[in-house]
Amino acid sequence: MRPAAARLFLFSSAGAYRRLVAIVAGIALGTGMLLVLLGAYLHMPDRDERVAWKEPNSAGALFSDDRGVPLAPVDDTVLLANHVDFFDGATIETVSVASSAHTSVAFPDGIAPPAPGEYYASPAMARLIDQNPADQLGGRYGKRLGVLPASMLKGPSQRIVLIGANWDALAGDANATAERAFATAGNHSASLLYQAVLAIGSVALLVPIVLLISIVSQLGAAERRERFATVRLIGAGRRDVAALAGREMGLASLAGGLIGIGVAALLRPAAAVLSIGGATSYRADLVPSFGWTAASLVIVAALGAGTAWWRTFRDDVGALGATRERPEKRTTGWRAVPLGVGLTAFCGSAAATRLDGAPQDLVLLGLVGGFALTAFGIVHAGPWITKAASQTYRRLARSAAGVVAAGRLSRHPRATFRSVAGVVVAVFIVSMLAGVLSSVARLVAVDDTPGLLRQDTLIAALDSPEQAGAMLASLASVAGVREGVVAYRTPRDGATTEVMTPADARAVGAIDVPDAPAVTLDLFDMLSGGIMSGSTSVKAPQPAPAIAGLAPEYVLAVTDGSPAAIERARTAMIAAGKPSLAPTTRSDFAERGTLEFTQELSALAYIGMAIAIGISALALAVATVAAALDRKRTFGLLRLGGMPVSELRKSVTAEAALPLGATLAASAALGFFVAWVMVGALGDGATMAWPDARYWWALGGSLAIAALAVTGSFGVVSRSTEVVSTRFE
């Protein structure tokens, strides 16, 4: 068809413009998000490379317990050790470095290693230090020389300090490595999971975009049935009409994609504040290269054109205006097979984790594969669930609206489920993460359990016995510190218990302490009970001979429990003793690692859910309008026969609500079931609790948006079925 004719055909009505504007807007939003996700995915290795300097350099590192570690400072080597510190529930990365006075080793950007008593901080850490009294935080590290440049940081929110240390102290640190040059290639293993999540997110985002294009094409065909028929009547073939729709959508997709570049620029500031892999992102880390951007636009335009072509070709508007209704393939229970196989593989693999000698690789494959198959299985089984629910609804329907809706649903379960599939998958994944998160949250919700270390107590492991005196002396003058006590090393080699006086043992939380000159107790169990395992029971203290002659192993500070007192005590202990491991409370111990990671992942999942809901809501609204326009004539005749428009609205609402309700409930239940299996198998006694408020907000929000999408289409339903618009034939 000549371009001029195509232009006349495509852009000849206000409705055509409105539809195109809606398509362009939807695709622009989807492409914008896609480009941000793609940028984050592509730059994830760069983030790792920027912080490679703090990791052992595989080419030049000499572990401190290897032979050849210089015991005295040398100019061509520095000693480097990574640890963590805590402040008010937040984790701080600390990198200690020891160097000679004339070292030739420099950090990236030419930063010279700080001398003992000096430090560099990341901008976020410098702000945190400046915002708090020195005796609670700043006093731990000494004199600040400056801030670390962006080229040494993963992202702007990274809390990290580079601290100068004594060579002697670091040479004895088991974590320290000797480096002649800093690593430049990052260790990508930590970010592989995030890359996988972002890659899946990028691909997954294309699915609702394609669904949207498909549904909008259907709407376009429904709206322009007469026009398509006219074009067929004057000689255009089925392929010509499909090509017209394909060209229209291809151009709209390209326009949407180009606008999407601008949308991505607008979205980046919001996306940059999300924490990924322990830090927020620099905006530059969310920008894909020109080549990737161009490739994304080509893919989006090709998907748009291809989907519209196929959809219109399949609809096959005839020369007389009638489309041949293609009955859906029969939906049977076989559609639930992938779901059953996925769940079996997942549950079986989870059970296998408890078997001794089970091949770990196979178990992991079963868990990951089972989970993926379960997620796919929900979408695959969705039409069958919709059909089963609609058949029950059909039997129970008592009103005209119910009968009309149930008839449509049971005859078109695939089409009706398609418009809610995105929300269903999102709810499954978020339910699973919310379930897992609830178990982690329960583990880290530390309270004062009799027999475990008191919540208000800090414990510091000593690198040398001499540190104990300095720490105790310093603690004596700290406001809010009630007591400073020492735990001594058990004389037997290999023992995992410590020795304390009975009074000190009681002061830090031990119970059933026998009257004896001294007692042995397991401080690690008291610290980790209920956190690393679900069990909170610890071995009762046992009588021991006198303490005299034993070497101090830990110093513990019992505070009044206020955050300020705890941080003052921690700062005093670090400043006085310079321990390689920061003093820790049970809460700090619980927060390390898992919670932060799970929260980051759940935040990404919630955002993914919001995106899926947004696009799916648009698809749902368009699908509702398309379904009404498809039946414009029959609905109009029903209104002619006396059916009130309110009944039609009820029917349209039920057609959207039933598949959404049935499959949403099933996917939420499955998500929690998978989480329960995972927590039971891998959580070592952990149990699940009710998910937090965010989950209920997300679920309620998705239902509200779906309701809004359906009610938003009511106007079109009313207008398109007005009795005067339905001609007597």
Partner: protein, 229 residues
């Protein structure tokens, strides 16, 4: 004494500058089968829209079964149609996703019948129209004549006072057409239902008790006098 069920007086209806009806007076007796004929664009559809209470005329009045439709609002007219009027059209009137029984039950459900009552009544009407073997079939699985008889069953299931049939056999072959017409008219005559039948076809009009012709928005010639009497 005659029992007039539809009385239209001085009906006028304009669409923009086009005068579709230019002052029509028409009376239809209870139980009568009236054929409305006329060329395309003559205004017969607009006339039926006004008689059935689908459109409100710009001038004149329509009294149907004792109710002046011109005084009712759109919602009230819809409720009135549900209780008093049935429609049969040329094609496309059945819901493709509903079985024959559910299609016929639909107006009964809309009128407040229970599901069980509506289904039983629908089955009874379908059997009466010779469709006892098609109760659970969908429109796509039926022949044109069968689908049209289902539409007639749906129109009559609520026992309307008046049935408006707009080219009810226009899409059927002659055998099916005769079959549908005779079945429909047998049933309506037995029930005493008034029928207003719009048709181009003189053979179809021959089944009616009386014919009127609409031309340029008016009832034409001698028919006009007879129609108004």
């Amino acid at each position: 004494m005659s029992d007039v069920i539809i009385a239209a007086t001085g009906l006028r209806k304009n669409f923009g500058t086009t005068e579709a009806l230019r002052g029509i007076d028409l009376a239809v007796e209870r139980g009568e089968v009236l054929a409305v004929m006329g060329p395309s664009g003559s205004g017969k559809s607009t006339l039926v829209h006004c008689l059935a209470g689908v459109l409100a005329p710009d001038a004149g009045s329509v009294i149907l079964n004792g109710t002046n439709l011109t005084t009712l609002g759109a919602d009230a007219r819809a409720r009135f149609r549900l209780a008093n009027v049935g429609f049969v059209f040329q094609f496309g009137q059945l819901l493709p996703d509903l079985s024959a029984t559910d299609n016929v039950a639909l107006p009964l459900l809309m009128g407040g019948a229970s599901r069980g009552e509506a289904s039983a009544t629908a089955r009874k009407w379908l059997e009466r129209l010779g469709l006892s073997g098609q109760l659970d079939k969908y429109p796509g699985d039926m022949s044109g004549g069968e689908a049209q008889r289902v539409a007639v069953a749906r129109a009559l299931a609520t026992r309307p006072a008046v049935l408006f049939a707009d080219e009810p056999t226009g899409s059927l072959d002659s055998v099916s057409s005769e079959n549908v017409l005779t079945t429909m008219l047998d049933v309506v005559r037995e029930a005493g239902t008034t029928v207003v039948l719009i048709t181009h076809d003189a053979r179809t009009a021959a089944y009616a008790d009386r014919e009127v012709i609409v031309r340029d928005g008016r009832l034409s010639g001698a028919f006009a006098e007879a129609a108004a009497s």
